[in-house]
């Protein structure tokens, strides 16, 4: 299913994470939220996979399930050849050094009662990395890499701005010298002028340290800039996956097409016709049958309501859509031509926007 990336560091296969819905006095299980429902991907060493989607699509749960910060219901995750599933307790905690995470909210992700030194040092102490002097050296180096002065160590999180806090959070992850970083909306909470600083920092760090990223965001243009490959999620599933430029220029899935068109742009030349999807995302507790996007898809047909579309791939471009699969076949596997037809079909079928 997964097209193997060269030397994959992270391999995720058929990942499912369901959360039980409990009701009543006895907390009986009355259903489940299928937050992640069959997600597969792999990330090559030193590569970045961007994961985009709207709130509730399960992208954050994917990131946390991969790191086993929430327990996946099914599927396998292996990092650097190590299958995470059998790891328990102490072994898993030891392995955590090699995989780190940076969160969205730089205000919520740093313990307000600890100063920066304590925040950075905690992981080093847990993993027994270096003596006091050695730890200090590592911490200074990590702060320096993220552009923070060493004097910051004596200070508390509330004394820093959002951008600086995010640098501290990145330093906390880096100090453990991980190979793999999950970046969960790392720039969404920051001001526009600060977002660019942090994106530059992330790209620099990856190049200098050879890091591998899973970059989760709802911001298509940020994902497009940072990631090598982009996967689009909708209701717990990946609906389309392709190299960043391919996805931007030749999207095949109607959802991707709509998503790209909906991003407001300042560039007059770039402005395309906005495809406005009707309705809201259905609840992941009751995902629709067939293709999960069919309730909002402008080009859905009878088959979409009944059969869950399998993956169709052209080279490294993968899409789950009956219509796109048909068009691809009709175009003899020419993804560019098929993308053009898809764009035109979706635009024609979507309700006419007012301007």
């Amino acid at each position: 299913m997964t097209s193997p990336a060269p030397d994959p560091l992270v391999v995720v296969t058929d990942l499912e994470t369901h959360f039980p819905i409990r009701r009543g006095l006895l907390r009986r299980r009355v259903g489940e939220v299928r937050a992640v429902d069959g997600v597969s991907f792999s990330i090559g060493r030193g590569q970045t996979l961007g994961l985009v989607g709207e709130s509730g699509c399960g992208k954050t749960t994917v990131g946390r399930s991969v790191l086993r910060l929430v327990e996946p219901t099914a599927g396998t995750v292996s990092i650097a050849g190590q299958d995470l599933r059998p790891l328990g307790g102490a072994a898993l905690r030891r392995f955590r050094r090699r995989m780190q995470i940076v969160f969205q909210d730089p205000y919520g992700s740093l313990n307000p009662r600890m100063n920066v030194r304590q925040i950075l040092e905690e992981g080093l102490i847990i993993h027994g990395m270096g003596d006091a002097a050695g730890r200090m050296e590592r911490m200074t180096a990590a702060l320096d890499r993220t552009g923070m002065p060493a004097v910051a160590m004596a200070r508390y999180p509330h004394e820093f701005s959002g951008g600086q806090r995010q640098r501290i959070a990145i330093a906390r992850a880096l100090v453990l010298e991980p190979e793999f970083l999950v970046l969960d909306e790392p720039i969404s909470a920051l001001d526009v002028s600060i977002q660019a600083q942090v994106m530059n920092l992330l790209v620099d760090l990856r190049e200098r340290l050879g890091l591998t990223y899973l970059f989760i965001s709802h911001d298509l243009s940020a994902v497009d800039y940072v990631a090598d490959e982009v996967a689009v999620m909708y209701l717990g599933r990946i609906v389309e996956r392709a190299p960043a430029a391919t996805l931007r220029l030749e999207p095949l899935h109607p959802y991707t097409i709509a998503l790209l068109s909906a991003v407001p742009s300042v560039d007059v030349r770039r402005r395309r016709r906005r495809i406005v999807l009707t309705g809201d995302v259905p609840s992941p507790a009751r995902p629709p049958a067939g293709c999960r996007f069919h309730t909002r898809c402008p080009v859905a047909e009878a088959v979409c309501r009944e059969i869950d579309p399998p993956a169709t791939s052209v080279g490294d471009h993968l899409v789950h859509c009956h219509i796109a699969a048909r068009e691809l076949e009709r175009c003899g596997g020419n993804a560019g031509a098929a993308a053009e037809i898809m764009a035109a079909t979706v635009a024609a079928a979507a309700p006419t926007p007012v301007d």
């Binding site: 742009s265 009707t278 007012v354």
Partner: protein, 352 residues
């Protein structure tokens, strides 16, 4: 005269740490039926400006000076000095308001229908039935799916996008002349944001309502506004018709903001499949907090064009406060050197 004319508005917060001028001499005007976008980063004073218009700034905030003239059939009234009872008629009557968080702005214990009807009843003397009918009509107007059913539902039963539609319905219920929308789509997903922006544009055309759209998202402004005002550190630094501003921004801050966004056209794919990513242009440093606004031009510590000492064509940037000058017809800039910025230098080189 324009529908709303704000001049030299100063709103300050009096905290134990001292006076914090969140809005420091803002002048703006909105014509009937037009959309003005007010953009800026967090803490620049854009929301306080919006709250000042309806005098909803909460203590310890005080409107210290300036005027906010709202034109009407009986001539313009100054909202800054209008007595409270008349002001209440303006709030929700002639000026509607839409907030960022539709969940917290709707009362969780009343049905959607009750809340929209309430907005009608407050300003138009009519029967409950008429108000309810009007509420239904409003929900239809904002294209809420299945409006008859929604009328009797509670806010928590609706999705974020639907709640924002209800907020818009309430804001428009009394056919206001102006709607102040404070980050109306920030809490929403891109596809839902597109729906709401579309709806606002459509309603404006059909009802002729002027809109003051407050946002941090330049893209949203570019796609919806006729005119744009950029705020930085409590002041307007640039104001122009949207087309002009985005085609040729003149203030270094606006230039920096627009350049900080990734440009897909500048990215290329190497033969080996790796991507060439040109570094993003950044605005160094951080947004100053209102307690510590720098002297002179407030942007100068982060500006790549700033002059350390008086040059041949202007004063030092850390000295005199630049005026908002009309550089081109309709295009105002608060920068001594706008129009002749020259080449940018490293920030920090200016340390006189």
């Amino acid at each position: 005269m324009p529908l709303l004319d704000i001049s030299n508005l100063v709103t300050a917060f009096h905290t134990p740490a001292g006076r914090v001028p969140a809005v420091d001499g803002v002048s703006l005007s909105i014509d009937r039926g037009k959309t003005l976008g007010l953009v800026g980063e967090s803490g620049c004073g854009k929301s306080v400006t919006a709250m000042s218009i309806l005098r909803l700034v909460s203590a310890p905030g005080v409107i210290e000076s300036g005027s906010i003239l709202l034109d009407g059939p009986g001539g313009p009234v100054d909202l800054v000095s209008l007595p409270e009872p008349q002001l209440r008629k303006v709030r929700g009557g002639r000026i509607g308001m839409i907030f960022q968080e539709p969940m917290t702005s709707l009362n969780p214990v009343f049905t959607v229908g009750d809340q929209v009807a309430e907005a009608v009843l407050l300003h138009q003397g009519c029967s409950r039935e008429a108000a309810r009918a009007r509420a239904l009509e409003m929900l239809r107007l904002v294209r809420l799916a299945d409006p008859e059913r929604r009328l009797d539902e509670y806010p928590h039963q609706l999705s974020g996008g639907m709640r924002q539609r209800v907020m818009i319905a309430m804001a428009l219920a009394c056919e206001p002349d102006l709607v102040v929308a404070d980050e109306p789509t920030t809490a929403l997903d891109v596809t839902i944001q597109a729906q709401i922006l579309d709806l606002l544009a459509d309603l404006r055309r059909r009802l002729g309502t002027a809109i003051l759209l407050i946002t941090h998202d330049l893209g949203v402004v570019a796609e919806t506004c006729d005119e744009v005002a950029v705020m930085y550190a409590g002041r307007i630094v640039e104001r122009a018709p949207a087309e002009k501003l985005f085609r040729r921004p003149l203030h270094p801050y606006t230039i920096g903001l627009l350049a900080a966004r990734p440009d897909p056209d500048a990215m290329a794919t190497r033969a080996d499949g790796t991507t060439v990513r040109p570094r993003l242009t950044t605005i160094p440093g951080m947004v100053p907090s209102p307690q510590h606004f720098p002297p002179g031009c407030r942007f100068h510590p982060r500006c790549g064009y700033a002059h350390g000492r008086p040059g041949p064509d202007g004063p030092a940037c850390d000295g005199g406060v630049p005026e908002l000058r009309e550089l081109e017809p309709g295009h105002f800039v608060r920068c001594h050197y706008a129009g002749s910025l020259g080449e940018p230098h490293a920030v920090g080189a200016l340390s006189t």
